[in-house]
């Protein structure tokens, strides 16, 4: 069985046909060529495929594509505005928070999910917020610091604006 799905991805209305058993991850990567979202395990254990669905953090490998009918999906490709990066992306670059970079899209999305609801997280809150995202390169040290830096930066600019 195939389904016709209409949803919003990274701000654009998108229509596509999917097999009923196809995951959102496979639909993003194989049907829509949005390969920024990565597959590390396909069992919901590594977080490399993290996306926001209506603002909530999900492993896209655990969601059927047809389930996002009418939903608002954000992937790593939608984090930056046309001409400037999201503060979290900036902080990851400044803080050398990536080595190989395969987990980075998922970590950025998970960090956004945290900072969207809590702009003043503690180190421990950051660690638990990204505990579903495996990174094998960094030991998380610079990732956690960068998310804390991004939070501070976003707090500062929120005060200004």
């Amino acid at each position: 069985m195939r389904s016709h799905v209409t949803c919003t991805i990274n701000g654009d209305e998108v229509e596509f046909l999917v097999d009923d058993r196809q995951t959102l991850l496979d639909a993003l990567r194989d049907e829509l060529q949005l390969t920024g979202t990565k597959e590390g395990c396909a069992t919901g254990d590594c977080g490399a495929c993290s996306v926001l669905i209506d603002g909530r953090l999900n492993c896209s490998c655990l969601v059927f594509a047809r389930e996002v009918e009418g939903a608002d999906v954000l992937t790593v490709e939608g984090l930056a505005d046309a001409d400037h990066l999201h503060p979290i992306q900036h902080a990851f670059l400044e803080g050398a928070a990536l080595q190989c970079g395969i987990c980075t899209p998922g970590l950025l999305v998970a960090a956004k999910a945290l900072l969207d609801r809590n702009l003043k997280p503690t180190e421990e809150e950051v660690r638990y917020a990204i505990a579903g995202n495996l990174c094998r390169c960094t030991g998380y040290d610079k990732v956690v610091r960068s998310i804390l830096d991004a939070a501070a930066e976003m707090r500062d600019s929120a005060v200004v604006s």
């Binding site: 990066l85 670059l93 505990a131």
Partner: protein, 761 residues
């Protein structure tokens, strides 16, 4: 320890990595991210048996499945004779490699490939795989070194004869190789020692755990050439290995490096590439193969498990006078574990006159082991560094002081033979001893441990090309995959040499047709060796730029020097010329400015790390929490300190996983029971503290910027530092990895049963 003032403008700064933008926006393309028109999807059919003879394979039904375009088996691969097996300069046995990629007469582990299918959809390919009929004759299997070395053990390879004098008469066995080193008289040394401690250790296999599964796309054309897109630690190695097992000329292959999503040694070999190439040839269309996570665990290289025995004898003043090690490594289905490296590194940090080392490479019915960060050394260090902790305790010596008194330094003959040049081991010990962490207070159930480690750096071959564009910017064409920020270190060294801003340099990792040969990104060699090629090529460019300035000024080139990134006339009478100005007029002064350096990197150093760790052990559950961790490591010179720290932190984090959680668990049939990230539990962010780093800089005199390789040694001491901390917290010596809550808890229980401090393991 990091020098506050350097003569450099760029080297040692924390610039933004050149590939950063692509990697935070999702644009970077990794192995599985390539889509070609008409591309087919492949799957691999794998053995359900740990040890069996393949009587027959019938693929006829699979070819009838709608959408299936090609099916390949052992019949599609050439036989590699034993004469051809060791051809070339590599340590790889090509016959074994070929048989690991596609089983021939026998399957040797669950997950061993027996066929591959390409179809228009994944579902069709999977249906095709189910339609293949394989007739197996199942044999008994062996899963541990003890089983494999038992007198009546089933033999995996009937042509495997151990390389020792008596083996000829004993016939085939599961011991592939016996390594044996000695110096002085270790038995006599033990007789003279005031303290002799002998202990045994057990280490389970662990996986490198890269987040990106192995992935490849191959497009083979009608002329028998193939373009291969894949992620690896070395696309030239992929070309060499693939061409050899296919018996192709290497030039028939163009390997395009995808971004690599972690490797840690596990992507210094091949699994899928020859299958994708042959499937593509049979189908006449591009084919993509991507491993599932379960396949990664079951069929790509774990780090070997091992049994280890270590004995150390010391005098009451703390001088180690004898050391002995026996190590048996689980090579997996084919010989070639890192036991030889373990033998060379086991006592390498120390100056010991009498040494005896024996290492056995044992085959068994598990996936063929692959390299993992400082291959072999962490296993050896777990044993040695915990025994040293006991020696220190027996002699009432501070464990850092014991190490310091015996530390190798310049001029000492290493335990593996050659004499050390300038090394920074003592400096790492001093860095930890003087660190605030070393004196911080501890509470109940908390403990502190230290340990040190050694690993080699590799030099090997690198080529790099520098092209200067007409706007004065530079492209670096590099053939070493960037696995952890090496583009940044290349750009910084090039900026320093060329005198232009790092942002004006674009390093690209290019395919096997677009730059000269490069050995793998491995052996901690890339910033050292490929960096050396970049520096040499830049110096060649500068020589050309001086010549062009001389032409513009109508003076002799000897009157032009390069200073501060600009051509200066010795007289000072002419306004200096920047590279940008020289580049702009290049067409008129002799044409394009470019240079290539191709070299075997000489002057390679070695690496040391010392680490200190605080743990808290929950006496109710045995759970070990890492409270604080500090690593000191000699980097020679940190070109980009953030990525040096990153390597140190990453090594420690992998060591923590190995120490506390990670292991392969096999059921009695030889099936891995925990082949998912849920059950194979790698550290997550909430498991770890910040990992503090001290970059020690004892410059390597063999490199223009003093670089030592930093990628690997950070993992070497970690399991022992944690074991020593657990002892400090609980009085229990753990001699089996991982030191999981279950094992620590049962050790605590055993002790409370008999009321003594019982060593376990």
């Amino acid at each position: 320890m990091t020098a506050d003032v350097t003569p450099y403008k760029w080297v040692g700064t924390r610039s933004i990595r050149p590939d950063g933008l692509e990697k935070v926006t999702g644009r970077a393309r990794f192995g599985a991210d390539y889509h070609l028109p008409g591309m087919l999807v492949g799957v691999v059919l794998r053995s359900p048996h740990a040890h069996a003879t393949i009587r027959s394979i019938d693929t006829s039904a699979a070819l009838e499945v709608p959408g299936v375009k090609a099916v390949i088996t052992r019949d599609d691969f050439p036989e590699i004779t034993s004469e051809e097996a060791m051809s070339g300069e590599s340590v790889v046995d090509y016959r074994d490699l070929s048989r690991n990629i596609m089983a021939r007469d026998k399957v040797l582990y669950i997950g061993h490939p027996v066929a591959a299918i390409a179809a228009t959809t994944r579902r069709a390919a999977e249906e095709g795989a189910r339609a293949i009929a394989v007739d197996y004759e199942v044999h008994p299997h062996v899963l541990t070194v003890d089983e494999a070395m038992a007198p009546d053990a089933p033999i995996l390879h009937h042509d495997l004869i151990t390389n020792d004098p008596e083996a000829e008469t004993r016939g085939p066995s599961n011991v592939g190789k016996r390594h044996f080193f000695d110096r002085g008289n270790v038995r006599a040394a033990f007789d003279e020692s005031d303290v002799v401690i002998e202990r045994e250790f057990k280490i389970r296999p662990v996986h490198q755990g890269y987040i990106e599964p192995h992935a490849v796309v191959a497009d083979t054309d009608e002329d028998g050439r193939s373009v291969v897109w894949c992620s690896s630690q070395g696309h030239f190695l992929v070309r060499t290995l693939t061409a050899t097992v296919l018996k192709w000329e290497p030039s028939r292959l163009k390997v395009v490096p995808a971004e690599i999503g972690g490797g840690f040694g596990g992507k210094t070999t091949i699994y899928l590439e020859p299958l994708a190439i042959i499937l593509s040839a049979r189908a006449g269309r591009p084919v993509k193969l991507v491993m599932s996570r379960q396949e990664v665990f079951q069929a790509s290289g774990p780090n070997p498990g091992a049994r280890v025995r270590v004995t150390i004898g010391a005098n009451s003043d703390g001088t180690i006078i004898g050391a002995e090690a026996w190590m048996a490594f689980e090579a997996g289905a084919f010989p070639g574990s890192a036991v030889g490296a373990a033998c060379q590194t086991v006592f390498a940090p120390y100056d010991i006159p009498n040494v005896g080392i024996e290492g056995l490479d044992v085959v068994l019915n598990t996936p063929k082991a692959a390299a993992y960060r400082a291959p072999g050394a962490p296993i050896a260090a777990f044993a040695v560094e915990t025994v040293l902790d006991e020696v220190a305790e027996a002699l009432s010596l501070d464990p850092i002081e014991l190490r310091y008194r015996n530390a190798a330094e310049e001029g000492v003959a290493s335990t593996y033979g050659p004499t050390f040049k300038r090394i920074g081991f003592k400096e790492t010990l001093e860095a930890i001893r003087s660190h605030a962490h070393h004196a911080a207070p501890l509470k109940a159930n908390q403990g502190r441990g230290v340990a040190s480690g050694f690993w080699f750096n590799a030099g090997l071959d690198s080529t790099a090309t520098v092209n200067i564009h007409e706007d004065g910017t530079a492209s670096l064409l590099i053939g070493s995959p960037d696995i952890g920020g090496s583009r940044a270190s290349m750009a910084l060294m090039a900026a320093e040499e060329l005198g232009i801003d790092q942002e004006r340099i674009r390093p690209s990792i290019v395919d096997t047709d677009s730059v000269g040969f490069n050995d793998v990104t491995g052996g901690s060699r890339t910033t050292f060796a490929t960096g050396m090629a970049v520096v040499e090529a830049c110096r060649d460019v500068v020589a050309t730029a001086r010549q062009r300035a001389a032409t513009l000024w109508a003076v002799d080139v000897e009157e032009v020097e390069w200073q501060g990134g600009r051509a200066q006339h010795l007289s000072g009478s002419k306004p200096p010329l920047t590279l940008t100005e020289i580049a702009r007029s290049a067409a008129k002064t002799g044409g394009p400015i470019a240079a290539t350096a191709a070299l075997t990197a000489r002057g390679v150093g070695v690496a040391f790390s010392t680490q200190i760790c605080d743990v808290e052990v929950d006496p109710e559950t045995g759970h070990v929490k890492i409270l604080r961790y500090t690593i000191a490591q000699d980097a020679g010179r940190a070109i980009h300190p953030s990525y040096v720290e990153g390597q140190m932190q990453g090594g420690v984090a992998q060591g923590i996983g190995w120490a506390l959680n990670e292991e392969y668990v096999y059921d009695e049939t030889g099936r891995m029971e925990n082949s998912s990230f849920l059950d194979y539990r790698m550290p997550v962010a909430s498991d770890l503290p910040m990992i503090d780093t001290v970059i020690v800089e004892v410059p390597n005199p063999g490199h223009p910027y003093g670089v030592r390789g930093v990628g690997e040694v950070g993992i070497v001491p970690t399991t022992a530092a944690i074991a020593n901390a657990i002892y400090d917290a609980t009085g229990i010596r753990m001699r089996e990895l991982p030191m999981s809550a279950v094992r620590v808890h049962s050790a605590i229980e055993r002790r409370s049963d008999d009321g003594t401090r019982t060593p376990v393991g």
